[in-house]
Structures are given as structure tokens and as C-alpha cells.
Amino acid sequence: MENRKIRIGFYALTSCYGCQLQFAMMDEILQLIDKAKIECWYMLSRDSSEEREVDIAFIEGSVSTKEEIELVKKIREKAKIVVAVGSCAVHGGVQSWGKDKEFEQLWKTVYGDGKVKFEPKMAEPVEKFIKVDYKLYGCPPEKKDFLYALGTFLVGSWPEDIDYPVCVECRLKGNSCILIEKGEPCLGPVTVAGCDARCPAYGIACIGCRGAVGYDVAWFDSLAREFKKKGLKKKEILDRMKIFNAHNPKLEEMVNKIFEEGE
């Protein structure tokens, strides 16, 4: 392992390509030249192929076609470490918002009678189909998270997951608290930190773009209770929480619980 270059692949599923653009434009990427070999990253190198074996595979985008299901399975087979990159890959992205609607209806709304060369399906996170080893959250993800993960892999260690909410960074930064002060439905308490509370720093309530904190510590129920007290209806709460968390298995049940409590 000493002098062998680490093999990296960056693969795109259905997405805006914003995640890989974010990383491709970092100056620091040049430091990788003598450490890593890019086996597949179309945005960086024309000599790319999805067929090669890699040490680390980064996947952006949500699985939104039948072909992409096969692609992620192939990537998993050829990669030692699979990293889901960005809200689409990690949580299914904002395109999963309409998850509860009929797929046919959604398709018609967007594409009408347009013909495509692939077999479309409802958008889903990568983890639904393959084992994901690490996640880079955000829409787009933070450069520092990418550098941290890569740097940690390069020294042969394992990066830590972020398991605490945006509120932590909001307090560390010295922001006011929008949820308390303005009573706006800030999703900071249930959303994965790492953005340095960027939106609240500008007085904008967190919309949850980094997705809910894992490990069952996103307390949708307690937050829904607070939103309810502030006068929000169940649908409004669910709609807001689902923007980036449509596939979260606990969300609906936890919010429903609060509205069954009565009062």
C-alpha cells in the first residue's frame, strides 16, 4: 500500500452534477496528483471508465432509472469503499419529495409525452440498493467534508460520521436562534450538521438540505410538537420535513404521533 496510488472513481446518477462540480473545482484536488489515480471521473478526465476497479467510489445522484440500479451494483462490486455524495445519493434528494404520488402522474407532469432512452423509476437513495460505507451530506456537500474523508482514507483510517444537528454549529458560531426568536419552522434540530449553520447565519430557517441526523436521533416528534404549538398544520410540517427526508422511515410515524396526542 505504501507507494501504490489510491484509485478513485466518481460516478454520477440522476442529479444536477453539482456535487462533483463542487469538488472538481477545489484547488486542493491538485494535491491528489501523486497520491491518487482517477480511474473514473468524467468531469476531470476523458480517460474514464465505469468498468475499472477502484479503492474509493464516490456516487452522486439518486437512483432514478432501472439502468442506474445495475450501475450502482456494478460500482459496489468493483469498489472497496463506496461513498454516497450529496443529498440525492444519501437521502434520495429533493426529487423524492413527490414520493407518495403516482409515478405515472409525476412523469406526465414533467415530461408529458416525451420519449426517453432509459427506463425511469421513482428516485431513491443509493443505500436502497447497495451497501454504502460513508456519506457526504449536503446539497451541495461541503468541500471540507470531502477533504476530511479523503485525507482520512489516505492515512489509512476511517472518517467519523456526523451525528449531531445543525443547532450545535449555530450556537458555536454565535448566531441568534431563529426557531425561538422568530418562531419560524427551522429544521436545524433534526438536520445533520457540517454546513456551519450557513442559512441561520443569514437569518434564514434551516430547510434541512443535509438530511436528517441518523442513528435515530432526529426527533421529528418533539420538533413537530413545537411547530404545532406555533400554529403549523400537520400537512405543513410533513411537507417541510419531507423536502429532503421523503425516504426517512420514521418521519411520518413520529409526526403523526404528535397529532394523535390531542390537546
Partner: protein, 367 residues
């Protein structure tokens, strides 16, 4: 102790001159309702009657986030990153916050000396200011409502200025260097000071004895309050992160892309977060939200031997800044039997044997 009077008309001149002793930080309004200690350019923006700052003054000494050292794996070495700290002045600390710093000192100067903390603590000039409590304040119950030391100067409000207590040689120097701004304390000033203190004492919401609280907390581990209130908790960490005495931190190593060098950083941590109790082998010794919720109550109410007070200084921040509206004081009063007089507390299910004292699974030698 030395006492002088700062007449009202000299206050802004005094504040301006504090800048000669270092960068000046003071409470200012940062949003519609909240305050924070910030660097002050225009001294007229300083708030003399703020309730509490969203960030506690520990932030000047124990930084919210800082780099501890740089390391190199190939050289097997690390170099501490300790910045050269210039003297600075923090104006406007309330008595509770001064006690907060004293609590921090018992940990980071005495128990676990922390050079990052110490280097800043030595350079910080502390100027206290009197306050009138609001409904969230309970420093009187914590015996932290009047600071005997821990400040260079302490200003007590008078109708026409401030009665100043001088606490340290640095305090003397500040007064001496600006002696023309000060006057002698008159009999009338003393009467006014006494009047203010009397009014202040009466303004506290509760006047009661909390001496046995920490023991009742241990005995009442099965109280229904814990379930009810932890259920409301968002686990966001605001209570810890606004607390003037919370001192846990989380460290992380951030390697560079060269596969060799990197930095170790630390940031304020919160015991309400999952990873606070997470140890090797993926074991979590506080696995549930309720465990974490209880931990803060027990930690804050434990006894600081050196100071003879609890770790909570009664500033009211954890209640005031709780997005779920959980009242620390109400919950403690519940445990004390002051909110709900029934004992045992009313519960729907059968009451289990209560507290540590009755735990059946304590391991140890058979007697």
C-alpha cells in the same frame, strides 16, 4: 476592598479608555431579542441592562472551536498551536457569569490544567456589572448572585452612576490611570447601593432552599418527570452550548491530502448528543435521550468542592434558549417537591423502587 464612584457622565469616556488596556468586548444586541458579547467599536452600543447573552463568556477562554496541534505521522511528532494572546477586556459580566468562569477555572486551571484556556485566562480583564433578575434568573438559589472575587472591577448601578468595587491589582491600575473619571463614594451612594441590592434580592422569582437538591435528584431517578420532560427534548444541545460552565469538548483529527500531516481540532460538545457517551466497541453508556437528559441535570447539580457551590450558576440560559421550552427550574422544583406536593409523585403504573439506593443490580462483594 477599594470603592470608587463612576459618575454617569463619565461612563462612556471610561469605556472608551478601557480600550487602552486591550480589545474591548461587551454585551450588544445581536438580534430582535438576543444579546452576545462582541467586540465593541462604538461604546454607545453597549447594553447595560441586557438579560443574558446567547454565548456565555467562557467563549473567550475556552474557544467554541480551535486547533490544538499540528501533527506529522512520518516524523511521529506534533506541535501545539498556541496563539500569542494580547490582553483584552470583557465588560459587563453578571455575577453568575463570573461564577461561571470560576467554575471553569476549577477544572481547566486546577483539575485538568489546559494551556489553551490558561493562556487566555491570564490575559482577560473582567469587568462585572450589576443586574436586575428576570423570571429566568435563579442565581440567588445557587448562591452565585454576588461575586466576591473573579473580577478586576465590578460596577453596581446607582441612580447617578456606578459604585465600583476594585478586585485586583489590575483593577487598581485601571482606576488609577483614569483617576480623574472617578469620585469618592458618598453616604448617599452607599444608601443607594443598599437600596438597589434590596430591590434586586426581592426581584428573584423564588426564595427557597435548594441545599438538598443534589441528593433528591439521585433518589428520584424514577420520577415521572424524567420521562415526560425528556420526551419534549429535541436533543439539539442548546442547553449545553449556552451554559457558562459546560466544559466538555469533542476532538477530531483532520489529515491533509498528503497522507502524512494534519491538525487536531476541538469544539464544544454537548452531553445531549449521541456521540458524547459513545466509546470503543460502539458501546454507548448513555444510549437513550432520557439518559442524556438526566445526565445534564445530575452534572449541573453536582457539588463543586473547591467553590462549595453547584456547577449550575443559575443564569437561566438553558431554559431561555431551549427551543422546546423545557424549564430547568420547574423540573428541579418538581424534584424538590415544590411544584407538585404529592409524594410519591402520581404515576399511572406501579411505582418501582426508586433511585440508586434501591438498585438491585449493583455489582460488588456480598456482605
Amino acid at each position: 476592598m477599594r470603592y470608587v464612584k463612576l459618575p454617569q457622565e463619565n461612563v462612556y469616556e471610561f469605556l472608551e479608555r478601557l480600550k487602552n488596556f486591550g480589545k474591548l468586548y461587551a454585551p450588544v444586541k445581536i438580534s430582535e431579542k438576543f444579546y452576545d458579547f462582541r467586540e465593541v467599536d462604538d461604546v454607545r452600543k453597549i447594553e447595560f441592562h441586557y438579560n443574558r447573552t446567547i454565548m456565555p463568556p467562557k467563549k473567550f477562554f475556552f474557544l467554541p472551536k480551535e486547533t490544538m496541534f499540528k501533527f506529522s505521522i512520518s516524523k511521529a511528532e506534533y506541535n501545539e498551536v498556541i496563539e500569542n494572546v494580547e490582553p483584552f477586556v470583557i465588560f459587563g459580566l453578571h455575577a453568575c457569569d463570573i461564577f461561571g468562569l470560576k467554575v471553569m477555572d476549577t477544572i481547566y486551571l486546577d483539575e485538568f490544567p489546559d494551556k489553551y484556556y490558561k493562556v487566555r485566562r491570564e490575559k482577560g480583564i473582567i469587568i462585572g456589572i450589576s443586574c436586575m433578575p428576570d423570571e429566568y434568573c435563579f442565581c440567588n438559589l445557587r448562591e452565585t448572585d454576588f461575586a466576591d472575587d473573579g473580577f478586576d472591577l465590578f460596577l453596581h448601578e446607582l441612580p447617578d452612576g456606578w459604585l465600583v468595587r476594585v478586585g485586583t491589582p489590575m483593577g487598581h491600575r485601571i482606576v488609577d490611570k483614569n483617576i480623574k473619571l472617578f469620585e469618592e463614594v458618598t453616604t448617599q451612594d452607599i444608601c443607594n447601593f443598599r437600596e438597589f441590592e434590596k430591590k434586586r434580592h426581592q426581584a428573584f422569582k423564588y426564595h427557597e432552599d435548594w441545599g438538598n437538591l443534589r441528593y433528591l435528584l439521585e433518589l428520584e431517578m424514577e420520577h415521572p418527570m424524567w420521562n415526560e420532560q425528556s420526551e419534549l427534548c429535541l436533543g439539539c444541545g442548546n442547553c449545553n452550548l449556552t451554559c457558562p460552565t459546560c466544559r466538555c469538548y469533542e476532538v477530531q483529527d483532520i489529515p491533509n491530502l498528503d497522507g502524512d500531516t494534519g491538525v487536531r481540532i476541538r469544539r464544544w460538545d454537548s452531553c445531549q448528543l449521541r456521540s458524547h457517551g459513545l466509546v470503543a466497541g460502539n458501546h454507548n453508556f448513555r444510549p437513550t435521550k432520557k439518559d442524556r437528559f438526566m445526565n445534564r441535570y445530575l452534572c449541573k447539580n453536582s457539588y463543586n468542592e473547591k467553590l462549595g457551590i453547584s456547577y449550575c450558576v443559575g443564569c437561566g440560559r438553558c431554559t431561555y434558549f431551549c427551543p422546546a421550552g423545557i424549564s430547568f427550574v420547574d423540573n428541579l422544583r418538581t424534584i424538590l417537591g415544590l411544584e407538585d406536593k404529592s409524594c410519591p409523585p402520581e404515576m399511572s403504573e406501579e411505582i418501582p423502587k426508586r433511585g440508586f439506593a434501591y438498585a438491585s443490580n449493583i455489582r460488588g462483594e456480598e456482605i
